[in-house]
Symmetry: C2
Subunit: 346 residues, 2 copies
């Protein structure tokens, strides 16, 4: 910087002001300085800037997939976060911390990041308590039971399941399963699981339907549990699959000889572009993961810009996309083991 000051015949402070724009600089000198900057290929040194200004212009994202490899959705969230941060000129750090509260504040305490975005938020989350204690800036993709003063974006799983259930009811189903991931993935009181069950039970009652809640793993042979279940409960003619649980479900149904969608209906709740990867194509409720990532970052950046502004809290609702997959559902009744969706229970 001293080089470029000399080269353009000004003081270093003037160079700084040209860079930051925090003081009026005459058009002429500004241009002269700018030329020197371009010619020397000068780039301001971030750590020095951060040291002096006490702001790293970076935020840290707690990234779940670092631990359990199957969170294919988190990718989409990440792309949204990245879009927002880079537009705002912020760098994005991904942190590998677990749910341990000490890990989550490390980037903040060491001055690596100005704020943190949390994912996989639990209804009662130690990390949130820790961040609140020192009033660190953060936002959440997801939400707790008590969210006073916290900015977050969340998806309305309660509503999504209700929506799915209504659709299945219209198709004639009267006995439906809800599949959630095993708690090991996101902890015991994981918001989406809790709230999807809530919506499930309420709507079952409203529509006088029967239903079962199933927790299942996704790797390897976990599908056998699912298979056993549907073997035991043949009346169950449809399922709502949250996230990657569609995989064990579809494998189990295939092994049971139940054809989707002719013999069995499935609605998957998945991050939006991933629904294109599911085969056979299923009706889905798409989680706008990219947008949620973007919003999650934006509300944090806003809080960094105006610390005293009121928190942004939003819950996004999903909408149903009906896909007709494969041949139209004319019945091939002789080959069926299960019930036909159009008939329901007798």
């Amino acid at each position: 910087m001293v080089d470029i000051a000399r080269r353009s015949g000004v003081a270093v402070s003037t160079v700084s002001y040209v860079l930051s724009g925090k003081r009026v600089v005459s058009a002429e000198t500004r241009e002269r300085v700018q030329r020197a900057i371009d010619e020397l290929g000068f780039r301001p040194h971030e750590p020095a800037r951060a040291l002096k200004s006490r702001s790293s212009r970076a935020i840290s994202l707690f990234f779940p997939a670092a631990r359990h490899g199957l969170e294919i959705d988190s990718n989409i969230f990440l792309s949204g976060v990245l879009e927002a941060t880079s537009e705002a000129g912020y760098a994005l750090l991904v942190s590998t911390a677990t749910h341990d509260p000490a890990g989550i504040v490390a980037p903040l305490e060491t001055g690596r990041a100005d704020g943190v975005i949390l994912m996989e938020v639990r209804l009662a989350d130690d990390r949130v308590d820790r961040l609140r204690k020192d009033d660190f800036p953060f936002s959440m993709i997801g939400r707790c039971a008590n969210n006073d003063g916290i900015s977050y974006v969340d998806f309305d799983f309660d509503d999504a399941v209700a929506l799915a259930l209504h659709h299945l009811h219209e198709l004639g189903h009267r006995h439906v399963a809800l599949l959630n991931r095993v708690p090991s993935v996101a902890g015991a009181d994981y918001g989406p699981t809790a709230r999807s069950v809530q919506g499930f039970e309420r709507t079952l009652k409203d529509l006088s339907m029967e239903g079962e809640h199933l927790l299942c793993g996704t790797s390897g042979a976990d599908y056998i549990e699912v298979l056993r279940f549907f073997e035991r409960v043949p009346d169950c003619t449809a399922a709502i699959a949250v996230s990657v649980t569609y995989a064990p479900l579809l494998t189990a149904l295939r092994d049971l000889g139940r054809h989707v969608p002719n013999d069995f209906s499935v609605i998957a709740i998945v991050a939006s572009p991933i629904s294109d990867l599911v085969t056979p194509q299923l009706s889905t409720i798409d989680v706008p993961a990219h947008e949620m990532g973007r919003l999650g970052a934006e509300i944090l950046l806003q809080r960094l810009a105006e610390p005293d502004a009121p928190p942004s809290q939003m819950v996004l609702r999903g909408s149903l996309t009906v896909r007709s997959s494969g041949p139209p559902p004319r019945r091939l009744s002789s080959t069926n083991l299960g019930m036909a969706p159009a008939e329901g229970r007798t």
Copy 2:
């Protein structure tokens, strides 16, 4: 730091040395200093450390998924990278830069990162030229045509396709399609595409088989192209699907009434844990994405530690996992449109 020096009755430099371990400190004073650190909850300020030591202890990963949302694999690579960096005490920055060479050097030039990991490497890559020009430390997940002096990990797509083709030949297939993603995703001369085609054509010749190379998109209705193809070429009884192309393929086959694996064989080349999500379960060649991410980071970190060490260059080979999906392949010949795998062409 001056506080903790006073509190433990030593000089600030001693505190620094306790922290870094770069000088021998007597067990007694070390413990005294450490106690003060713990009591005051002191954490060294990273930007200051970086300013003085000219090292950010951070590396930057160029993350493809920021642009096109469907690279579900990149997640797995990321988790591997994250594992290695965090173990080494490095922070991980994800960069949203495109293939533009200016973007890739930004974190290096501003002192935000000490090195860069590249993904989606092209056979001739501008970014690589740029990094080489200023001798910036970097590693690649993937490789160029000319890799002199560069550390990289890559997957042997040539070998993988050859392996798949041999297996299909043993099953009796004589006409096979290779599906790659459209070039728009990764650029015109994308290594995996080029090398998979290479392995395909060589092995076709070796085994006297016929084959076709197909580029396809994955979103929405792209599968129709694939459907048209297999309608036009009914002799083709098997396919090798690279990455997410399995989705349009399976959808097309289903719409054509060709049952997998009874009427048609598919081998997918996918990042390893993702193969569990594919329904129906397919025989796969798994790309060890997590391990590749880990290695990609490790070879960069090693280069940062010993700049003069020879570069590490590794090409990982895949192995075939045969999955029997659904009912055993007894033939239901009346319902078939296509050829049976066990019979091949007549």
